[in-house]
Amino acid sequence: MPDDLNLPEFPIPEDLRGQVTITTLDRIYNWGRRASVWPMFWGLACCAIEMIATATSRYDMARFGMEVMRPSPRQTDLMIISGTVTKKLIPQIVRLYNQVPEPKYVMAMGACASGGGPFKEGYNVVSGVDQFLPVDVYVPGCPPTPQALIHGFLTLHKKIAAQPIKAIPGYRKGTLEPLPIPVLGPDLINLRDLPRIPSAVPGSDPETA
């Protein structure tokens, strides 16, 4: 039992250290689950190569219990958006996100996933995956070095450790609504923007929109 699991207000006698701990359910539950986050094995672009490099021997993601990368969204906890998100791809990304079981986390790896990056001005580029998904950790860099990605993992671990179980949406009663999947129209259609679109159509009367 690591000492950091123990609540600081309950001192453990010297001879019982490492064997007994007094803690809360939140703490021990999060301690377990943060050390076995399974990322989704899905690379989008350049950053994916650094993500793979992080998994290889020099950086060794396995030290953080994260080496089990699953290609199926239904077996994963963490989506690493490792690259440029394009308009053509975002419907699939949102669909995959909806398939990941709760509790789920999203990491925006690199400049493109965080805000469009160098390609932001492009006509087919979504400027940041956070326009469509809730992002938990942003990792800066283009591409982030493996060290930066590991720092992102540790930040995610901290975030998980601090989450009260009751506050996690997936652990509550009732079903969660899936996120709306954007539609590929003449341009990308974010369904939340639907009421505003008619004003952008030439020849239409903006008053009726």
Partner: protein, 583 residues
């Protein structure tokens, strides 16, 4: 292969087709301008009589001021030597051209790209659909009068950034909708998103001898999708296959999921600003991409880098080749079922080479190291001895080790020998490049065929294998790594001292008007940059002839008749990288 008859001089083509073909006489331009109605006749004469059997690149340029669309073709002889450029001009309103796919099947995807991005219709094309954007997208984005949603100004640097220096976020100024062009009859409620009907229908057409005829067991044909999220597609790539049982009847690659608009952005950027963008094309080989782009711009500017810079460039390009082929082998074995262990070994060596890159350029992957007329920083002695140790001691041993473990492996041989065969004729027709072409028995390597930099005085062999199957494409990468080491050993031996830059480094280079096509033998094949400059600070046209994209043209051919489990291996043996496929 039959020896082509060369009975006509290349420079007399305008005499042979009087009134139909003329020399391109614009300043800085070369080649021929062919009337659209003569295009097919002209190109078949090129192919059959003059020996230009390899159509390397097809692209388009939008000359807005002249109200013209120009389609530019680059063709080469497989015996080597300089190529031929020919163009065909059509009006901007409803541009139509005869398709060259019946003559050069390798033009298929490139013509689709020109249709998608420029709206040029190729008549007689077997499958003219959008390729990078989705069906239903409004407009043809590479046209000069098409503006993207975040459009600010025609060229960079944008006025609000420099010299005024007040940066604002463009989305605050152009809120949703303002620059997004919707067709006038569009209504969001009535919109039905385009399903892949045309794609699936195209697959149904090529059924061969009909449903199950000829076989004893009648089986139902099914269509399956692999990707864009699939562990074996090497990124966001999608294959749609029509299967008869387990056998692939037909297959279509679907791309564009990583279309990052390199070319549109590249035409807003200044020449030097494009250098870091080339890094992100084939993100395994950033140094090789820099090389091609630097060559294209240097051709326009008419400068050559000093001797030491040439050696450093070749050193970096060959180290890049080793990285790329290491990973290609690793991922291919991954697809064959050796889950990740070979990749781990290969990544180990990659890390050591990346240390060199980081030392010279400051970045592991995106090096941005080349400049026009040289390289950005000099090699230190410490870095140089790192390279020397790698290429003389470590890498040769590691290659031996990999070969010992992997080459004679029974499973690898069983699954790859005789699978996914591409014959020499097919490979040339499909404009395949690099290891894919050479594994099919065509000894064509740009480093030898049209030597650039210092490759004409380096000793190395053009690797070639004869069978054109997966195993040969796998082995040829070992061969090429050995040749790269040979080159590197010569470079390390002969590295001269001196300047690393011609002239002083400058932010804004002066590029005279004209066109140029710079091509290098990148690890994945011939990487070409087609540039049109109009004397301003930005390229008027910036096109990338990407080997991964064009090599995919032959994927369907290789997969037909194979098992679906082999299709992923065939894809792995082509060695694509999506940043370059979709650009």
């Amino acid at each position: 292969m039959t020896e082509p008859r060369i009975d006509l001089q290349v420079d007399s083509l305008d005499v042979r087709f009087p009134g139909k073909v003329r020399q391109d006489s614009r300043a800085g331009y070369a080649g021929y301008i062919v009337q659209p109605e003569t295009l097919v006749e002209f190109s078949s004469a090129l192919r059959d009589q003059l020996g230009f059997r390899y159509l390397s690149s097809v692209t388009a340029v939008d000359y807005l001021a002249e109200d013209l669309m120009e389609v530019v073709y680059h063709a080469y002889r497989l015996e080597g030597g300089p190529g031929i450029v020919f163009k065909s001009q059509v009006p901007r309103q409803d541009p139509r051209l005869p398709s060259l796919v019946p003559l050069f099947p390798g033009a298929e995807f490139q013509e689709r790209e020109a249709w998608d991005l420029f709206g040029i219709r190729f008549e007689g094309h077997p499958d003219l659909r959008r390729i990078l954007m989705w069906e239903g997208f409004h407009g043809h984005p590479m046209r000069k009068d098409w503006h993207e949603a975040y459009y600010e100004e025609e060229v960079k640097p944008f006025k609000n950034r420099w010299p005024e220096g007040q940066v604002y976020r463009i989305e605050d100024k152009v809120p949703f909708g303002h620059n997004v062009s919707y067709p006038s009859e569009f209504s969001p409620e009535g919109w039905v998103p385009e399903e892949d009907v045309a794609l699936y229908a195209g697959l149904g057409k090529i059924q061969g001898d009909g449903n199950g005829k000829g076989s004893e067991l009648e089986t139902e044909k099914i269509i399956i999708n692999l990707g864009p999220q699939h562990p074996s597609t090497h990124g966001v790539f999608r294959m749609v296959a029509r299967l008869d049982g387990e056998t692939v009847v037909d297959l279509r690659p679907v791309m564009g999921y990583l279309h990052r608009n390199h070319e549109k952005i590249g035409e807003r950027n200044t020449f030097l600003m494009n250098m870091p963008f080339t890094d992100r094309l084939d993100y395994f080989c950033s140094m090789g991409n820099n090389f091609g782009y630097a060559l294209a711009v240097e051709k326009l500017m008419g400068i050559r880098p000093p001797e030491r810079a040439e050696y450093i460039r070749v050193m970096m390009a060959e180290l890049t080749r080793i990285i790329n082929h290491m990973l290609a082998i690793g991922f291919l074995l991954n697809d064959l079922g050796a889950y990740f262990t070979p990749v781990m070994y290969c990544f180990n060596e990659r890390e050591l080479i990346l240390d060199v890159f980081e030392a010279v350029s400051g970045s592991r992957m995106m090096c941005n190291y080349f400049r026009f007329g040289g390289v950005a920083r000099d090699l230190t002695d410490a870095t140089f001895s790192m390279v020397r140790e790698l290429v003389t001691e470590r890498l040769p041993r590691k290659l031996d080790e990999l070969e010992r473990f992997l080459v004679m492996n029974e499973i690898v041989r069983e699954r790859s020998i005789g699978v996914g065969v591409l014959t020499a004729e097919q490979a040339i027709g499909f404009s395949a490049a690099g290891p894919v072409l050479r594994a099919s028995g065509v000894p064509y390597d740009v480093r030898r065929a049209e030597p650039y930099s210092i490759y004409d005085r380096l000793e190395f062999d053009v690797c070639v294998r004869q069978h054109g199957d997966i195993y040969d494409r796998y082995l040829i990468r070992f061969d090429e790594m050995r040749q790269s080491l040979r080159i590197l050993q010569q470079v390390v031996r002969d590295m001269p001292s001196g300047e690393i830059m011609t002239g002083k480094p400058q932010y804004q280079v002066r590029v005279p008007a004209g066109e140029s096509y710079g091509r290098v033998e990148n690890p994945k094949g011939e990487l070409g940059f087609y540039l049109v400059a109009n004397g301003k600070a930005n390229p008027y046209r910036y096109h990338v002839r990407s080997p991964s994209f064009i090599n995919l043209t032959s994927l369907a051919q290789m997969c037909r008749g194979q098992k679906i489990a082999d299709a992923v291996v065939i894809l792995g043996s082509i060695d694509i990288v999506l940043g370059e496929v979709d650009r």
